[in-house]
């Protein structure tokens, strides 16, 4: 598929996310976040020049010299507008005001209500697979106005009926359970994978197909998903990255080709 679009999955996901980000929005980006940084800086170089993002760990604001680095990397200091300390940043993530418009996250598992898991597969006391842990994920998924989930490998073990460990609240048990349990409205907006783009049906909050990448079928998605994915009619084909998007991404955002050398 990457050859069809003349881009890698990481590049495709960066472009798809960038399109959904708006001018003037505020975002927080976690650790190990090449796609997230690329999406924010691509949007800033296209339609959202005052989109504002901060590195969760390092606190550097709007770092951009055309090179994608780990967000905690001290070299981002040289190309940022400000630096915020970590405990201060944790304080900022508020509730009804939702200081952050969006966050972008990866996960070991996501379920049909958009809850995510980065802690463990199997029981916590005796996991089959032990993941890295939670760090800011609970706060970002619970308290940003919306969040995106990046799943570069769409398979049944990653798209599950119910996450084995819920450390990133999506729509909890679906319907209105998220707000019933005291979390602000919002939650997961889009999930982007190597197969397609997905959102959540407004009333049940179940995951559904928005578009499929070129060559991908509904059956293929269902076969690789551990729950019944909602489908309304015949989903459209994902709009491929434009020449302009790819040019700006490769020349102004990721000039050293970090995303090209990734998957």
């Amino acid at each position: 598929m990457s050859t069809d679009l003349h881009c890698t999955t990481s590049e495709l996901l960066s472009v798809l996310l960038a399109r959904d980000l708006c001018d003037g929005e505020k975002a927080i980006v976690g650790t190990n976040s090449d796609v997230q940084v690329a999406a924010c800086n691509l949007a800033r170089n296209m339609h959202a020049p005052t989109l504002w993002w901060v590195s969760g760990p390092g606190g550097m604001v709007n770092a951009d010299d055309g090179v994608i680095r780990p967000t905690a990397d001290h070299r981002n200091l040289a190309c940022c507008e400000a630096v915020m300390d970590l405990p201060q940043m944790i304080d900022f993530i508020d509730w009804e005001i939702h200081f952050f418009d969006f966050a972008i996250l990866g996960a070991l598992q996501i379920d049909r209500f958009g809850n995510i898991n980065t802690v463990c597969v199997g029981p916590h006391s005796k996991p089959k697979l032990r993941g890295p842990g939670t760090v800011g994920i609970a706060a970002l998924t619970a308290l940003s106005k919306r969040f995106y989930v990046v799943m570069p490998k769409h398979h049944r073990g990653a798209f599950v009926e119910r996450v084995d460990f819920l450390n990133g609240p999506g729509h909890l048990d679906g319907g209105t359970t998220r707000t019933d349990r005291g979390l602000p409205a919002g939650g997961p907006k889009l999930v982007v994978s190597n197969l397609g783009v997905f959102d959540f049906e407004p009333s049940t909050k179940r995951m559904r197909i928005i578009s499929l990448h070129p060559g991908v079928t509904v059956d293929q998605v269902q076969a690789n998903t551990g729950f019944e994915m909602l489908v309304e009619g015949a989903p459209p084909v994902t709009m491929a990255p434009t020449a302009e998007e790819m040019q700006i991404l490769r020349q102004k955002v990721d000039s050293t080709g970090v995303l090209r050398s990734a998957a």
Binding site: T31, N32, P57, G58, G59, M60, P70, A72, D73, H74, L77, V83, D85, L86, P87, I90, I93, W95, V119, C120, H124, S125, K126, P127, K128, L129, R130, G131, P132, G133, T134, V135, G136, I137, A138, A139, T141, A142, L143, F165, L166, N167, G168, P169, L172, R178, R181, G182, L183
Partner: protein
């Protein structure tokens, strides 16, 4: 009243059963020289509270120094999952206190202020189910936002790595400070390794870099390449080959023992370790 100590003397304060925190962030400023000394001294039964980290908690766990570890985030990022932490978790050989960023920040701040606990928002996760001690319910008034209590975290000792310090113990950072300052506030004993010692005049001239004033620091250890194989801002970058070799060695008990023997037990301290890795120079020297 110099705060500079030999690494052996500095680490001698750590006794079995103590709670030890480590600073930095994933591949940044892991206090590896201090960690290696703990392994060298064969100190065991530690409760570990690592800031989001990589090889520092992973090596301590792999070397059998840890009874229970807090886990905020332990990852080898592009190199995969933390190999020894993962193995220990999957075999159940260590206890894990699952925590998130707000819980550790709230707990450390309560520790720094010496309050019994702090308050954080209830984010409706499974964390309280597996760590009920660190996430306790709060009675809330009707319509009031739901919160959780997080008990004060007061590590007995915290291990940090920074770029430079003076003899008095003013510690300077050329990088973000992550949880280091908050950990130093909350901990009862603060040990910092630095790549180099500078004069007090240098510190006064560049006071904006002094993120840990001397009053917060108990011991400074001179350890050039003390964060190796992780990054020390401006002085050395991530040694990717070393990390990859470490991950590979960790797949097998005898290979890992050989790694520890070669890079830890056979190096008497930071100077020998520096030689062992080929006596590299600082980037900005």
């Amino acid at each position: 009243m110099s705060k500079i100590k030999s690494i052996s003397e500095a680490i001698d304060v750590i006794k079995p059963g103590m709670t030890v925190a480590t600073g930095g962030w994933i591949f940044n400023a892991q206090p590896m020289a201090l960690v290696r000394e703990i392994v060298r001294k064969e100190i065991k039964h530690l409760t570990l509270i690592p800031a989001p980290g990589s090889i520092a908690p992973d090596m301590l766990i792999g070397a059998g120094a840890v009874k229970t570890t807090g886990c905020i985030f332990i990852s080898f990022e592009q190199f995969g999952l933390a190999p020894n932490f993962r193995k220990a978790a999957e075999t159940g050989s260590i206890g894990i206190l699952e925590m998130d960023g707000p819980a550790i920040a709230g707990g450390l701040r309560a520790g720094a202020c010496d309050l019994p606990y702090g308050l954080i928002p209830d984010m409706c996760t499974d964390l309280p189910d597996v760590n009920p001690e660190y996430y306790q319910p709060v009675q809330s008034a009707p319509g009031e936002r739901r919160m959780l209590k997080v008990p004060a975290i007061k590590p007995d000792v915290v291990l940090l790595h920074a770029q430079q310090a003076d003899e008095l113990g003013n510690v300077q950072y050329r990088a973000p400070v992550f949880f280091d300052i908050l950990m130093a506030q909350a901990a009862r004993h603060v040990i910092v390794s630095v790549d180099r010692i500078v004069s007090h005049e240098t510190v006064r001239k560049s006071h904006a870099l002094t993120r840990l004033p001397s009053a917060f620091v108990d011991a400074v250890v001179e350890a050039p390449f003390g964060a190796h194989p992780t990054v020390s801002a401006g002085f050395y970058d991530l040694d990717e080959k070393h990390i990859a070799d470490y991950v590979k060695a960790s797949a097998d008990a005898s290979a890992f023992d050989e790694y520890l023997s070669s890079y830890v037990r056979k190096c008497a301290g930071p100077a020998e370790y520096h030689k062992k890795i080929g006596s590299p120079a600082f980037l900005d020297a």
